[in-house]
Amino acid sequence: MNVVLLRIAARNLMRQRKRTMLLAGAIAFGIMIVTIINGFAGSFVKNISDNFSYLMGGHVFVSGSEYTPSGKRISIIRDDSVIMQALEDSGQKWVSLQKTSQTIATLIFEGKSMQQTLTGIDLSHSGMIKERLALVDGNWDNISWPNAIIISQSIAKKLNVLPGDVLVAQLQTITGQNNVGEFRVAAITIDSSFVGSMMTYVQLEYLNSLIGLGKNEYMSLGIMLERLEKSGPFANALYTSMKGMGLNLFDRSTKKEDGSMTPFQAMLLEQKTEQWTGTKYRLYTIDDVLAQAQQIVVALDTGSTVVLIVLFAIVMIGISNTFRMAMYERIREIGTMRAIGVQRNEIRSMFLYEALLLALAGAIAGIILALIAMGLLTFISFDPLSPVFLILKRGHFSFYVPPLRAIGNILLIAVLTLVAVYAPANAAAKLPPAEALRTVK
């Protein structure tokens, strides 16, 4: 690379300031749009996954499934010591474990009633509860009550209850018998998120006793990891480790190749159609559950790349024409340089440097503009009950531009620009010097 030619290329850009601004502006605009789409797509899955991780109490899950003597299929982990051993043996790190049982119950208070899924966890020892939920009423101390229930503001309003009130819950045991329990409202949470407004938490031990599970039994084990991104490798290691302990597991890689089903859906289907004895375990991750969200992201990213290419096909025509014009404007300069001793390929490089600098300047400006735009968009705040809430981060847009995507976009622009400018650059290089020098503009 010849530095003086690079310097001339840079100064030639500055020399045609208006033209440069226009082209760089067009590039910047395209990059901005695409970066915003990428940024949205990038955080889309992360937000959904984060929200769901809290909703479901983990990044990786193990649940047990077995048939009762009457042929009813139930979710149950009877003895988790083998799973715990498998966890240890997998050599992986996790942040916390959460044992969960769930059931649907009808909550009744003074003639008002509503159906709600009760999630039983160890309230007193769940770090997530205090971290994730904000209280409007009640007290964190109350959650140690054996029959504590944490409900959201909207449910409290519907049932017209206050902390300390006792609700009646009608539910069924796992074997199908009707049962009734009494829950005391310990805390009412702000509907600060989709997750918060949907969840009703109770003590695992009390819920188990109501649905007929033993003291050490539960339905599924949620494993919270340091980061969501680790769930794939973690699940693989745990799967191998559980298999190694001789546990009966559903195949994780089951896949319908036509794409009509996510692997997770296929696994559920397999679970429905198959028969087995004893407990068969299902191991899945948030990503498995949200594979469809992933597909949306892939669609968004593909779409944005198409947008990028279409936008740039147009911009590139402009750039190509501009450089052709520049070549004619500078024809005598080119002839002079050739006479003085600049080689053909150096003339070509000089034009390509100019194009590359233009593309990079435009792309960087575009990314900066996108960052500003995304920053402004995050100030918009959405209603918690709005349907887009699940894809938001605490009620605001959030963006995450994967660095590789940004770099990929810049490279794409650089390559497209070079392609667009190659023909005029080459024409400039091929000009016979005598002809170039004779030309009077």
Binding site: I8, R11, A339, G341
Partner: protein, 245 residues
């Protein structure tokens, strides 16, 4: 040995199907260190022969020997390197690089590859040339801030910076008023004496021709006069060519 030998060079241009014979077979030699004028009216073939000697154009037939080296069949790359190493150019319309200032324009050829000037001497050599052409106070100015005469001085310094053996100047005074033109020719002559660089310049100005050691006069693509330091060295084939006409 002459530094340049032009042997029966013909050059035809093609305008569609029409052949325009710009040089009809000319021959002459140029001695090292001479101050040579290619004279002749407009359209006589001055630019064409200078372009051929300058290796920026190739003859249709005939041979060109520079510094004992036959230039026939050299590739574009070799020609470019040859130009860079042993030739310097001065143009009628100055042809400076507009985005470079005076110093950078003069420095430019040095940055293009091997030259006779060691890197450690670049700066002082460029400063010397800037002084030589009287532009010390203008060294940081861009070409568009200079007068025509000043621009041509920059071009002269640029042509000399690689210490070429030959400097070619195609009508270097045509875009200047006559006083400035004479100053430019005087400057070229002075440098020719000081640095012993061979200068070949074309002009159609009779007054300027007289200053040359060697005058080659063209008309209609033929040499009609070839006179060196008063001695007529009119060559046989040139005569025949002109007689045919």
């Amino acid at each position: 040995m002459p530094i340049i030998q032009v042997i029966d060079v013909k050059k035809d241009y093609y305008l569609g199907n029409v052949v325009v014979p710009a040089l009809r077979g000319i021959s002459f030699s140029i001695e090292r260190g001479d101050f040579v004028s290619i004279a002749g009216p407009s359209g006589s073939g001055k630019s064409t022969i200078l372009n051929i000697i300058g290796l920026i154009d190739v003859p249709t037939s005939g041979e060109l020997i520079i510094d004992g080296k036959n230039t026939k069949g050299l590739s574009d790359k070799e020609l470019t390197r040859f130009r860079h190493e042993i030739l310097g150019f001065i143009f009628q319309s100055f042809n400076l690089i507009p985005v470079l200032n005076v110093y950078e324009n003069i420095e430019f050829p040095l940055l293009l590859g091997k030259t006779q000037v060691p890197k450690s001497e670049w700066k002082s050599w460029i400063e010397f040339l800037i002084g030589e052409v009287g532009l010390t106070e203008w060294r940081n100015h861009k070409p568009n801030e200079l007068s025509g005469g000043q621009r041509q001085r920059v071009a002269i310094a640029r042509a000399l910076v690689t210490k070429p053996s030959i400097v070619l100047a195609d009508e270097p005074t045509a875009n200047l008023d006559s006083t400035t033109g004479e100053q430019i020719i005087d400057l070229m002559k002075k440098i020719n004496r000081e640095l012993e660089t061979t200068f070949i310049f074309s002009t159609h100005d009779a007054k300027i021709v007289n200053i040359a050691d060697h005058v080659i006069r063209l008309r209609d693509g033929m040499v009609i006069e070839n006179r060196r330091s008063g001695e007529d060295i009119f060559e046989e084939n040139a005569f025949t060519a002109s007689a045919e006409n």
